[in-house]
Symmetry: D3
Subunit: 161 residues, 6 copies
Amino acid sequence: MTEQAGLSHYRADGAAHMVDVSAKDVTAREATAVGVLRTRPDVVARIASGDLPKGEAVATARIAGILGAKRTPDLVPLCHPLPITGVDVDVVPHDDVVQITATVRTRGRTGVEMEALTAVTIAGLTVYDMIKAVDRDAVLTDVHVVAKSGGKSGDWTKEDA
Amino acid sequence: MTEQAGLSHYRADGAAHMVDVSAKDVTAREATAVGVLRTRPDVVARIASGDLPKGEAVATARIAGILGAKRTPDLVPLCHPLPITGVDVDVVPHDDVVQITATVRTRGRTGVEMEALTAVTIAGLTVYDMIKAVDRDAVLTDVHVVAKSGGKSGDWTKEDA
Amino acid sequence: MTEQAGLSHYRADGAAHMVDVSAKDVTAREATAVGVLRTRPDVVARIASGDLPKGEAVATARIAGILGAKRTPDLVPLCHPLPITGVDVDVVPHDDVVQITATVRTRGRTGVEMEALTAVTIAGLTVYDMIKAVDRDAVLTDVHVVAKSGGKSGDWTKEDA
Amino acid sequence: MTEQAGLSHYRADGAAHMVDVSAKDVTAREATAVGVLRTRPDVVARIASGDLPKGEAVATARIAGILGAKRTPDLVPLCHPLPITGVDVDVVPHDDVVQITATVRTRGRTGVEMEALTAVTIAGLTVYDMIKAVDRDAVLTDVHVVAKSGGKSGDWTKEDA
Amino acid sequence: MTEQAGLSHYRADGAAHMVDVSAKDVTAREATAVGVLRTRPDVVARIASGDLPKGEAVATARIAGILGAKRTPDLVPLCHPLPITGVDVDVVPHDDVVQITATVRTRGRTGVEMEALTAVTIAGLTVYDMIKAVDRDAVLTDVHVVAKSGGKSGDWTKEDA
Amino acid sequence: MTEQAGLSHYRADGAAHMVDVSAKDVTAREATAVGVLRTRPDVVARIASGDLPKGEAVATARIAGILGAKRTPDLVPLCHPLPITGVDVDVVPHDDVVQITATVRTRGRTGVEMEALTAVTIAGLTVYDMIKAVDRDAVLTDVHVVAKSGGKSGDWTKEDA
């Protein structure tokens, strides 16, 4: 199997490597990922509008997500380090879920999908941590990329997004 | 709202804090979390038994998960640092999914659910990174705790686990 | 010069080292540090009660401070790693200042003054970062320990604190 | 409030974000920050010319400052990662103070004031750590930017610097 | 002694600094380093072809080396941060040794020899960690650069490499 | 193969894991490792007694080694995090070598050989970085453990150490 036809993070001999992107162009790139922390309505109510000031709980998760985006190459072994140029993380509690969306921008040689996904998961874990004492059955779910732009493969938006 | 009745990561005035656990006993604690990376059967086939040697892809995700567990207090703002005494991460590709399970052990003053969840999500993101070039629609999903033991609240196993 | 008589972070031959604390008792310890970010009243007004929701700016600095406390041994070369058991960071804007207070707790063999000071400075730098575009003359000042307890040297409170 | 008129680290809805700088030019940038660790003359004498070889204590603080500059985006949540191209840290003990100056250079899309300030504070905390056993009343104070160059806002030097 | 004539990491006054490379050109650069973990044939046999599946042990060391390369500026105080564009780490057990080779690529203002050396040593330490329970006499040895290209000093290959 | 008979970092099924040490006793432990940076006499002369003040070059390597010891579990994937209670690093230039020795102490459930080895290699890489511009043929070599004490396996000193 050649790199081109398969999983580029592995060489023809099956060894993991950080694929060489030296020859790729530096372009403006952006990716958006989403995810959901599913809990109970009474727990969401506490985060969003109840006893707990909304700002602080939401802000804690947001800041964790932004810091998480910057840590991506330290966490995901085969990711390239990238000079992130912008991050937005939204943490929206409603009904029985907390919805998380992260958009990451860079000017670099590879995309920022992993940075956006890492921001979403770390923000999600931060919410999980807040509520685990009151809901052992919480689930972080449906984490995926919904849009990316820039790079040779062009713009893409998930069809059912 | 008192800490005891609500979300202990926030004080009565709504400020986030790392709750004081100085007075808690040091006990043996263990937690297991799971998650699923959902992709396509042909992608899983490449990871598991096809062109790509299974060991290297699975091992990469496993190592990322183990390192991720150790990084938890750096990533999740209100988590206590804990001296982890053991981590097992299993990464099992089959059908159209890669199933991830992580068990973390410690002897400490707080539980290790967040460490187990972080191991699962970082391992899952590592698989996502490997396959994102061939499947833009992959989803990291159903990440949750299935069992914990130790501490004052005693042993617990998710009912439908 | 013996260690006991001088600066214990340096050996008799003048070399920096992390002093051996293996023989010290593990005791409950606590330290509180404070600091001030001095800017202009109109800038504080924006942080505290003006255009900018107070919670988010204050929360960002607080979370940075809590994470900073956990990073202390990575930043201050001769500090011992410690299992922090609790952190409180207060960020209070008023008049032309933002006052920062951090209390850190542990059960360990050395004190947590450096952790409290690191929390204060990182929280202060985070506020500085927020306002530097509107006030180039901001100053982070008067960062010091005001109280400590635990350990062989006993409890201490700064006289004019 | 628009970003332009106010604190750009917060969006119009008050949420913290890492502001998008993708469209900014890459230019050579430099910033210098200073700070003072105030203690007692006898303590400074030990650091500078007494029992303790000057080189080692000063070098320890300097190295901590240089490493701290590189860690800035990991510590200050809304800071952009930047490829630092040079750092100088000076640690000068005299009278009852240790004066710290840090200059940081980059070629990037944002300034390096925060990197210079972080270098100063981490170097200052490292001195604090060395002397805290002999002076509980030490203070890290007057940390601020004294000059910056590069970027759209042009060169600037603090008037009374 | 001027910087040019001597060790550029130190100024004319002897102070360590991160030398200013702002004026250097960004060019494609590559460096390869090697090292050897020397143990006993029976230990190598376990790693390579015996009881232990080769893939997992080799992969663990390889992943540690790749992550280590990305951590270089955090570990080596005077190293410049660089946007690594590719890393290959080979871990080859045979006879009584495990041979480690790392090639790192970037497009930057300084070379990547330190990144390649760090990858080799961290991979080597990871093998050491695996086998230390069965061979206390293992040695990590002969770690050096064998080739570099790019930059003003041009291409170079170690003569007896 | 059982864990006990083989490489404990791998399970019977060949998967890497962080072996569970929860049941081990906490005891005082110490390990000493050494290594050599081999270069040319004229280069060593510059570091030790020539143009370059000895203190600063030696101190830079020493501080890097001490910080490296604290980073070990972040770098070596299957290492347990340990509360280090003391670190000494000696960096001695003479003839054509720089000799590095590191002793690490803890009170924990596993030994600190890896921490001592990491301190030696990071200190060695830091010297390498200083001199690589004047000696491309430098070699970091003969890195190994020379003594350990504490734990079930008892005290041990390398025979020919």
